[in-house]
Symmetry: C3
Subunit: 348 residues, 3 copies
């Protein structure tokens, strides 16, 4: 596939500087790009690399007055424009491959049109699968689950019974949706298991990474709202609610019944205790432990999450501790000297 | 299914207050319950919600003199009673579905009665499977492994060879049991792999969450004792021993050869170093890092696990650090002033 | 299988002390060994156990002048010698079992000789599989991937398309290789997905534990170099490069585009931020968070990784904080007393 620079500029809503007729056949980083490819500079600190690039064109910010030797497209958000061009060149038009003869589909399941169900996938009783859905090899869709249009379920994903998944949801390999919440009550002799009879509900446009675990509600639902993106190896406990367009980075763990607002960001390896509320647009830095409610629009950090300025201050003073110890030692000395002098003065 | 309040009271060992003949068809939270359902109050702070509930009955603590407008069952432990009633209403009587024709079972395997072996499950050589066992789709049971009566092995679980699993064990989806321990010795050129020839032994009544990894012993066994419950994404290294009725919350990692006593609780994302001993009834708070032995009955917390009071004290003083810095500054000033005055006094 | 002590000494390059003709049929720990077995002492602190062992021979350090009542092999590195003897006694000679009739192999795939492809494995289009490769049940090898000679792919592993794997690589159960990197750009309305069109490249002799996730590059490759060993539940993000012979302990997370040098060691639950460089032979202690570049040969520790001595000093002063607070209180008192005395002296 080849596109003119003009066609790409139209795709990304940008302005061409230079020859709009040149042909582009791919996109690559500024160092890796070859002739015939378009590159991009999203961060101005990489601009000095541009003159050395072999790229035939570049996507540049309209804000900066960059003179480039090669033709360019000027846009407001070069990174977004790059993503759009990359998608154009990398997307294969979806070709449904139908239902593989080895897939095991219950006769009561309702399967949409233009689906791809790969070898050894298992579709349970009363399952409903939308149109253009891809279910890869070894994936398991439990009884009574619904999968909306255009979803991709990668290999060896396990979806327990009664799960509800919206449209355009992507679930990466070996992720588990709908396993039992971790609920027991001590009966004097043993941990008595509390049945987990709720569901998992995943709304439209959610993407979930590989190796994640999302437990079903004890009663009621665990909910991942529209447009939220979840990285790999994330744990989401029973009855958690994650608001829309949130970002949950890898290896985060969220304990039972905690609720996240909209556009929340949790950095890698963050842990959140149970029954908390995290407000809209809040951000928690990587590795932080959240043990209290987090207000909207706040930026938290530290092993026991605190407002980031507060945490930075105590981190800074922690580093000055050895210096403080020294100061106190000198003060003690000085005070002793003063004491002696004063005693001497009194004696005179 | 419908039960009278009297029947439920007998099930949970409680006393009926109000009409014992009313019919109950389900259980739900105090806010969600509908007419015909029973709700429960385990925490007294939710008692004010009770008058607004649409529930037809409630499970309440016998300790508190609560007057309820609706009939109730009074018990010692309302949460346990709730769990029992929930189990009553949610449990489907187990219907074995037999061995699916696509399951791949070695001819030398011994399979019990009333089992369910689902599509594409693989049962290796000399495997023994007890009665009423459920092996879900895509699960793999390696050669020479034993699975006791009444176990549930969820989809895409991998159990390596020679694993020993007791009765009534539940293993959630995509968990791995018996992978090689992480053992190498540097031979001057490369990390030389130490063969891992031990086993994993899991005793009766253990439940293991989704996406966990439990390594086999290098020599000897990795052991999970009776009644222990393990959450999702937990890592248990080679030759670890976990005592009975312990609780291991999500994303915990336990390093090689560490031994936990009975009724130990490890909070979420705790990490435990290798070759340690954690005593009976010890609790380690979430995200803590354990680098030394932990005595029985202790409660530990902090990035480097310490007795919780000790850790709280140093956390509190850490927060007062900026204030301390200010105090020291003032002291320095004061001492300088005193010095000057004293010099002045001497000169006079 | 039985071997004479002399034969074992030749295998490990050691010197026999005692009868070289005795027959050995296995290897075990000093406490567990039975007659006919050889044991080993790698750590001198376990030497006092040796006289009580039932072992028929022992592997001992040539450095220490140990007198043993039983015949022994003296070597430079007893632990390595033990590993070699253990491998000798535990290794089954590989018996290829061929391609199971239920495995689903695309007609365009090229399969080497002496392979074992187990039930329900899926091999995609244009895949190349080397000689003596074992692909276990439920494993998925995506289109256009290459697997070198002598690899072992355990059950339910998912390898996405276009992955390149060298020879003698071991990948444990339920690990995912080549899932999409976590890349989005906010377009004002939603997180717009950046296509992930790079690959994962794994070099010779790498071992990867169970339940890991290794994302493909956005553009360009995620690379694991020769001889690196990765424990369970490790997350490696897009475009990470890990140098050769590194050790990555369980539950580590490495963020996008970070590069590790050769022989780097990351302790359990370490988190590394994105776009960093970690130098050759660097070690990061367990649970540490790395937010800056790490120089070669350094040893880092602490929640915000710092040189270990520096971190230990501030940990030590943190523990002395309550004591410091007390010192400051006393100083304040003393200074007040001095002040009063001085005022008194002046008045006189």
């Amino acid at each position: 596939m080849e596109k003119t620079l003009k066609e790409l500029a139209e795709l990304v809503g940008g302005v061409v500087v230079g020859d709009p007729a040149i042909l582009i056949r791919g996109v690559a980083g500024v160092k890796e790009a070859e002739e015939g490819e378009i590159t991009f500079i999203a961060n101005p600190k990489y601009l000095p690399l541009l003159p050395h690039s072999r790229a035939s064109a570049a996507i540049l910010s309209a804000k900066e007055a960059v003179e480039a030797k090669i033709p360019s497209i000027r846009v407001e958000n070069p990174y977004l424009a790059f993503a759009k061009v990359l998608r154009l060149f990398s997307e294969n038009s979806y070709q449904p491959c139908g239902i593989h003869p080895t897939a095991c589909i219950d006769s009561s399941a309702m399967i949409g049109e233009q689906v791809s169900i790969h070898p050894f996938a298992v579709i349970g009783r009363q399952v409903r699968i939308g149109n253009r859905v891809q279910v890869y090899s070894g994936a398991f869709i439990g009884d009574f689950s619904h999968i909306g249009d255009g979803c991709i379920i990668y290999p060896n994903v396990t979806i327990y019974h009664h799960t509800v998944i919206g449209s355009s949801v992507i679930i990466h390999a070996n992720t588990v949706i709908g396993s039992d919440g971790f609920g027991y009550v001590w009966n004097g002799e043993e941990h008595y298991k509390i049945p987990q009879v709720g569901r998992v509900v995943i709304e439209d446009g959610v993407e979930i990474g590989a190796g994640c675990t999302i437990d079903r509600g004890t009663m009621g639902d665990t909910v991942i709202r529209r447009g939220t993106k979840i990285d790999n190896l994330v744990q989401i406990a029973h009855n958690v609610v994650i608001g829309e367009s949130s970002i949950i980075v890898s290896q985060v763990g969220i304990s039972g019944s905690t609720e996240l607002g909209k556009r929340v960001t949790l950095g890698g390896q963050v842990g959140v205790a149970g029954h908390l509320k995290i407000g809209d647009n809040a951000t928690v830095a990587a590795k932080s432990g959240v043990s209290k409610n987090v207000p909207s629009n706040s930026l938290m950090a530290g092993p026991i999450a605190r407002p980031i300025q507060e945490w930075r201050r105590s981190e800074a003073s922690l580093r000055r501790l050895p210096e403080l110890v020294e100061k106190i030692r000198k003060l003690q000395q000085k005070v002793q000297e003063l004491e002696k002098k004063l005693q001497g003065a009194e004696r005179e």
